[in-house]
């Protein structure tokens, strides 16, 4: 099982962003890195000029690099951003089908978790179109993952392995709404919460987290206990979603797990203090609902 590092979902300070990718380039156990702006086009200018250096470092460090498209493309500048990705010469991870419209037919690309690949027909269409790998939507149950991995054949299939789950995307910015600001005058207040801002129920149940226009799970997805089942299903890699602090410990734990040096119980026990939301979930794969957790911690 390989490890892929997904794009940063939150809005991080540019210096921290650069340091993160510099260190990631040197981090063992990581095969692939997807970077770029997934959630909000307003964030990109803060670190865009740093991207070429980060990419070069990652490539020098032996990582396979892909750039993500935005998750929801509506504005003119977002369309331009999306169109330009196809000309970068890098692998584009399509996370809104708009990106596909700009990729020449049969040119290679990868499919991210925010594209609705729920069945064999969609997978086959995208594969025939040039998809070289699929990170499946986190909502899928294991039975669907198995069928899709079988259909994909030699094309690698990945599933969400760690991190707050991307559950929804909206036109409305919930960070701006919370701070009584209009989206256009948000003053980048989402930077206060680089891993998202917890939303609890009125009974203080841990529930969701807001990240600008995106809604995340509050509990952190942790698929370590599903490793054997995922391997049996033919899944080739796990996606670890970056978090602002403690992430390199998480990578090391997953590297130890896939190498057989520790088991899932140990990983979960050691990772829990670092988990955003301070709780785990893995229920989309096999539980009654996404928020449920089948591990012991």
């Amino acid at each position: 099982m390989e490890l892929t590092i997904g794009p940063i979902q939150g809005f991080w300070d540019a210096g921290h962003w650069s340091d993160f990718y510099a260190r990631l380039a040197e981090t063992p156990g990581v095969t692939k890195v997807v970077l770029g702006e997934l959630v909000c086009s307003k964030r990109l200018p803060f670190y865009q000029t740093r991207m070429p250096e980060a990419i070069e470092r990652l490539q020098t460090g032996g990582k396979h690099v892909a750039v993500t498209s935005l998750a929801l493309v509506t504005l003119k500048r977002e369309r331009k951003m999306t169109a330009e990705l196809a000309g970068t010469g890098l692998e584009v991870e399509v996370n809104d089908l708009t990106a596909l419209a700009h990729i020449p037919e049969h040119a290679p690309f990868s499919v991210g978790p925010l594209v609705n690949v729920y069945n064999e027909g969609t997978l086959s269409y995208l594969k025939q179109r040039g998809a070289r790998s699929f990170c499946l939507p986190p909502e899928l149950p294991l039975a669907s993952v198995s069928r899709l991995a079988a259909k994909a054949g030699t094309t690698p299939v990945e599933v969400w392995g760690w991190g707050r789950l991307p559950l929804a995307i909206s036109g409305r910015c919930y960070h701006a709404r919370y701070h009584d600001r209009a989206k256009d005058q948000c003053q980048f207040v989402c930077a206060n919460d680089p891993d998202g801002f917890a939303v609890d129920t009125l009974d203080d149940q841990t529930f969701l987290a807001i990240n600008g226009v995106q809604t995340l799970s509050d509990p952190c997805a942790n698929m370590s206990h599903d490793l054997t089942a995922l391997e049996a299903a033919g899944v080739a890699s796990l996606r670890l979603s970056p978090q602002h602090t403690g992430f390199f410990n998480i990578i090391a734990l997953f590297h130890d797990l896939v190498c057989g040096r520790i088991d899932a119980d140990e990983l979960s026990a050691r990772a829990l203090p670092l988990a955003p939301g301070a709780a785990f979930c893995n229920g989309f794969l096999g539980g009654p609902n996404g928020i449920s957790w089948s591990g012991r911690t």
Binding site: A71, L72, V73, T74, L75, K76, E78, R79, T82, L97, T98, A101, H102, L114, N116, Y118, N119, E120, G121, T122, L123, S124, Y125, P137, P138, E139, A143, S144, R147, L148, L165, L167, A168, I169, S170, G171, R172, C173, Y174, A176, Y178, A182, K183, A198, V199, D200, T201, L202, D203, D204, Q205, F207, L208, I210, T215, F284, P288, N289, G290, I291
Partner: protein
């Protein structure tokens, strides 16, 4: 005249909508293939055929929503739905899944294809991709766009556009939301349901009534005040130091006052949400909207506040059509 696309969860509602002046009626089969897969709702094959005949005889069209995402290993159910919609004489199918659209374009080239709101096609590039690749004739726009943006989109596409104007309001981009399955295990994309009634409980707690979804408290009201249905994204939650409607108030969509602007924006069709609503509700909403589009066509003002009493006993919003909503 702008086309009025009206909901029908039952054959009786279909007839009521047609009689009330619907130009088109949309409906679905009674299974996982459509996004209003509620108990007791939707059409058998025979009911659809009868509904199409009833509508055609009165100059109306029937559109069949097959707008969930087919389950891996079970695509045949969705393929059959497309074939049966064509056999029944449907004017078009409303599809969301990329693979299913590709399938329909290949196997049923003569069957008109509309792109469901569940496909969340929110800009001209992706709409033109669907039109050029799969000959999609109409796109139902996601509820994340302002009227100005809809006008800009229409300037860059040849595809017809359809927009929601009344009824339930998704706060998230449709087809891109798994909040419901995160809490209940059942989602719009996979099961055609959101915040399903099977997972709702109302619990009396002291002087309050808690509305819960899958055991999670979505809303709490003092006894005697109306408790809204616990739709997840319209719940009351705690964030930081505040308690409130983090995502959206328990409001429904009413864009009736924007009809002139939507007409000017080049919108072809106006869609009313509510296949789960009663026949009487459907008839009244359709009648009022028909009067409104006729008024518009003849250059008369659209009657204001004509639908206030129908907005779920709640406040109404124009949603993302007003840019400030974001």
């Amino acid at each position: 005249m702008m086309e009025l696309v009206c909901p029908a969860g039952t054959p009786a509602s279909l007839r009521a909508a047609v009689d009330a002046g619907a130009h088109s009626v949309y409906c679905g089969f009674a299974d996982d293939t459509n996004a209003r897969n509620f108990p007791g709702l939707n059409f058998s094959r025979a009911e659809l055929a009868a509904g199409v005949a009833y509508a055609k005889a009165r100059g109306s069209k029937v559109l069949v929503a097959i707008n969930t995402f087919p389950e891996a290993g079970n695509e045949a159910l969705w393929h059959r739905a497309v074939a049966d919609a064509e056999t029944a004489g449907a004017h078009a199918v409303i599809l969301a899944d990329l693979g299913l659209i590709a399938y329909a374009a290949e196997k049923h080239p003569g069957l008109r294809r509309h792109l469901s709101v569940q496909a969340a096609a929110a800009n001209p590039d992706i709409i033109n991709f669907y039109a050029e690749t799969f000959d999609v004739k109409r796109v139902v726009l996601p509820r994340v766009l302002s009227v100005q943006e809809i006008a800009a989109i229409n300037r860059e596409i040849d595809t017809e556009t359809e927009v929601f104007v009344f009824g339930g309001l998704c706060v998230m981009a449709e087809g891109r939301c798994s909040l419901s399955s995160f809490i209940t295990g059942r989602s719009p994309n996979m099961n055609g349901v959101c915040s399903p009634a099977s997972h709702v409980t109302y619990t009396e707690e002291g002087q309050e009534l808690a509305a819960k979804l899958g055991g999670y408290t979505i809303h709490r009201a003092s006894k005697g005040t109306p408790a809204p249905y616990p739709t997840l994204c319209k719940g009351c939650f705690k964030v930081g130091s505040r308690t409130g409607y983090v995502f959206e108030d328990p409001a429904s969509l009413d864009a009736s006052e924007l009809l002139p602007a939507l007409a000017k924006a080049g919108v072809t069709a106006l869609k009313i949400e509510g296949r789960q609503r009663s026949r009487a509700y459907v008839a009244q909403v359709v009648r009022n909207f028909r009067a409104a589009v006729e008024a518009l066509e003849e250059g008369r003002p659209v009657p204001a506040g004509m639908l206030a009493q129908l907005t779920e006993g709640q406040s109404a919003t124009a949603g993302a059509y007003n840019k400030i909503w974001r």
